[in-house]
Each structure stands twice: as structure tokens, then as C-alpha cells.
């Protein structure tokens, strides 16, 4: 926890706990903040509480104790609908609507927000180009006519369509084959720098965390055990970090041998 708390947090957790109706605690007094424009990666095993933390930000879940602040306001004070439309959301397998074309999927939030039709169409085109898909070719296709990587790109385009300041991503690239994932990681890194969004990514992929995060929050059994910069993370003695660093070293050496 040696990184100083950011000056102007867009998202802030203050001693947040979350329990299921059954009484099981999924999140124990978690506190952290995400500065405007940074990318926080929540890294941990399945069941560590990463997704729970993410869903507390757009109020798909509500805290049992403590509060989650988005742009300085508790999520419980926000109208949940306008809070969610304010935040882009990407989930594993993209969650695209199978009965909507790519165009309609991307246009979803702008249309819910009643943008004028011309602006919606221009925006869809812009978004498809942003994620590297040719609008001519893809706008009228259905999700089942796309590859996994293309679907994931459309998912990102859809989340960004209404120009939210915040982007939440739950295992966004988890379902992709390693080659496609690697490609998308690099593209997404470039996109991050260009867009300047505040992003929270949930993943169990350490390489993804190091590649995409400006900071990495390590989660275990419902607790946040530490927040590191990617460099700190690789140098730290956390078992997860040690393993990750070792893997990267091997990759690096393999690269140098050639």
C-alpha cells in the first residue's frame, strides 16, 4: 500500500462490506480509490470478491456497510439507472444482445438516452472504427456471425458509445484464445492512453493486470490485500506477483535467445 491515495478520486470505496442474503460475506471492509483517468486492475482468484466490488460501483449490488462514492456521491444517492448509463460496462463474452445487430447493440445506450438518430449513427460508425472493425462490413451483422475477438470489440464499443467517463470491465478478454487476447491487450493499451477514461478491470490474468493497469489491487477472500503499481507488483514478494514475475522473466529470456 505504498502508493499514495490519488488526489481527485472518481471512484472511492470507504470500508465497504457486502453480504449475501444467506449471510455469507463476500467483501470485508474494503477501501480504495481510483483517480480520474487511471486504470485500476482488481486481480485475484475466482471468488476473491473482485466482481462483487465491480458491481458495487454501478450499483448492481448495494453495500451492506460503508459506502461507494462515484464522482464524490454515494451510489445510494444516485438514481441507479442514470448512474449505470453514466458508466460503461463490459462483461465476459460481451453480453451482446443476440437479437440485435452490431449497430443496434452499440447504439443501445445512446438510444435509451434519446440522442438524435443522426448523432447515434455517426457515433456507431466512430465506435466501430475505434475498435478496429469496418462499419461497412460489421454494422449489420448479428453477434453470432462474429468471432469471439470481434464480439469483445463490439462489447467495448457498446460500453464506450455514450461516452462515459468511467468504464468497468469484468474479465473482458477472458474468453478469448491467447493469441487474440494478446492482440487485443496491445490495442486496448493504446486505446486507454487515447481515451483518458477512469477504468476498473477485474481479471485473474496477471499478465493482463501488468499490461493494462496503472495500479493493481490484489484481492483475496473478500479483502483487498494490497495496491501496487505494475513495477511494484512485479518486485513484491506476494506469491502471485512472484509467479507472474517469474513467468515474464522466462518469456523475456526466451525472447532474448532468438
Amino acid at each position: 500500500m505504498d502508493t499514495p491515495a490519488p488526489a481527485c478520486p472518481t471512484i472511492e470505496f470507504r470500508n465497504v462490506s457486502f453480504r449475501l442474503a444467506s449471510g455469507q460475506t463476500l467483501l470485508k471492509s474494503v477501501s480504495f480509490s481510483v483517480a480520474t483517468g487511471e486504470t485500476l486492475v482488481l486481480l485475484g482468484r475466482s471468488g476473491a470478491g473482485k466482481t462483487t466490488a465491480l458491481k458495487l460501483i454501478n450499483r448492481l449490488l448495494e453495500p451492506a456497510e460503508g459506502e461507494v462514492l462515484v464522482e464524490g456521491r454515494s451510489t445510494m444517492e444516485w438514481d441507479p439507472i442514470s448512474l449505470r448509463r453514466h458508466i460503461g460496462y463490459v462483461i465476459q463474452e460481451a453480453g451482446l444482445f443476440p437479437h440485435f445487430t452490431v449497430e443496434r447493440n452499440i447504439a443501445l445506450v445512446p438510444r435509451l438516452e434519446r440522442w438524435p438518430e443522426e448523432r447515434v449513427r455517426a457515433r456507431v460508425k466512430e465506435m466501430l472504427e475505434l475498435v478496429g472493425l469496418d462499419p461497412e462490413k460489421f454494422a449489420q451483422r448479428y453477434p453470432h456471425e462474429l468471432s469471439g475477438g470481434q464480439r469483445q470489440r463490439v462489447g467495448v464499443a457498446r460500453a464506450l458509445a455514450a461516452d462515459p467517463k468511467i468504464l468497468l470491465m469484468d474479465e473482458p478478454f477472458g474468453a478469448l484464445d491467447p493469441l487474440t487476447r494478446g492482440e487485443i491487450h496491445l490495442e486496448f493499451r493504446a486505446l486507454e492512453n487515447r481515451l483518458g477514461k477512469t477504468i476498473v478491470i477485474v481479471t485473474h490474468d496477471m499478465t493482463e493486470a501488468v499490461l493494462l493497469g496503472t495500479r493493481i489491487g490484489l484481492m483475496e477472500a473478500g479483502e483487498l490485500t494490497g495496491i501496487y503499481s505494475p513495477g511494484e507488483f512485479l518486485r513484491s514478494t506476494e506469491p502471485a506477483a512472484v509467479a507472474c514475475a517469474a513467468n515474464l522473466r522466462i518469456l523475456d529470456e526466451a525472447g532474448r535467445e532468438q
Binding site: 448492481l60 437479437h99 445506450v109 435509451l112
Partner: protein, 211 residues
Amino acid sequence: MSLAAFFWRHQGEILQSMAEHTWLVGVTILLAVAIGVPLGVLVARRPWLSKPILGSANIAETIPSLALFGFLLPVPWLGDRADRLAITALTLYALLPIIRNTAAGINGVDPGVREAARGMGMTERQILWQVELPLSLSTVLAGVRVATVLTVGIATIAAAVGAGGLGEFIFRGLAMVNDQLILAGAIPAAVLALAADFVLGVFERRLRPAR
């Protein structure tokens, strides 16, 4: 007299009975959809309501149809007119498959899709109309198809309370021990059932979402 000749001679009456029959079935299905789809949505949304609602519909299904017509006869407003009585009884039978399929269709929507819809800020109503119902349309329609075929058959019994339809021929034929009369009711009823099954089946396949 051959059956064909019999049909030819009585074509006016047969066609009229078919029209009556179709009307009974049509009104019944419209009512059953209007009641059954919202109930199905309710069952999917509030699991604790699923037992009472599906249970009641199930019980209605188990009452022998002739008895149900009899039970409803003394009910004030219902017993006044035969078609009213018949349509009420038929609707009770048609409800179960429609409720069950609507609930199954909605429960079958990919949870990821629903979560994405919620996460992007769609209201419950928008999720229902723009996501859940369109995605379960073919399953709902399969229920409507089962209900329709079922109703075409049971509607022949409506003639017992004087509601008309193709059952008239069947009951008259039974009373007069006349096979041709019975067939004059049974064959058109079978044709109606097959036609409804076919047409609704085509729609159902058209509306099935691609995966």
C-alpha cells in the same frame, strides 16, 4: 351416400360450423395470451408465485372438460350465454401451456445478456420488452401452438352446452349413431388443428433467435 357426397351436400353447414369453431378458438387463444403471458412473466419474476399460479393452472387442466362446462353453467353472468361459457372454460385449459412457456422462455434468457442490460442502465420494463420478451418469443409461441391445438379439440365439447362449432355434428352423429355426421365434425376439426399447428410452427421457427 359416400362421405365425399355427404360433405358436398352439407358444405354450407360444415363451413359455418368451422367458422364458429375458429371463432371460439381464436377468441380463446387471444384471451389466454392476454392473461397467460403476463402471468408467465410474473412466474419468472417472482419465483414464490410460481407454485400458486402454475398449480392453479394445472388443476384447471385436470378437470374433465365436460364437467368443467357443467360446473360453469350455474355461474351467473357466465351461464347466460353459451359462447361466453365455452370461451371461459376453453381459456382455462389454454392457460397452462402459455404460462409455462412464457416463464420458461424468460428464465432461459442468457444471464449474461440480462446482466449487461441491467448494467447499461435499462429499466426493468425496458429489459422485459426489448430483451426478455423478444428473446423468448419463439418459446412463448410454442406454448401458444400447443394451446391452440388443444383448444381446437376441446372446443368440440362446447357444443354440449350449445356454443356451436364442429362439435354439433359430433354430438348429433353420436345421438343418431351416424358415422358420417361424426366425421363431418371430426375431420374439419383435425384439419383446423393441423393447419394451426403448421402456421404457428412456421412463425415459431422464424422467430427463434440465432445463437
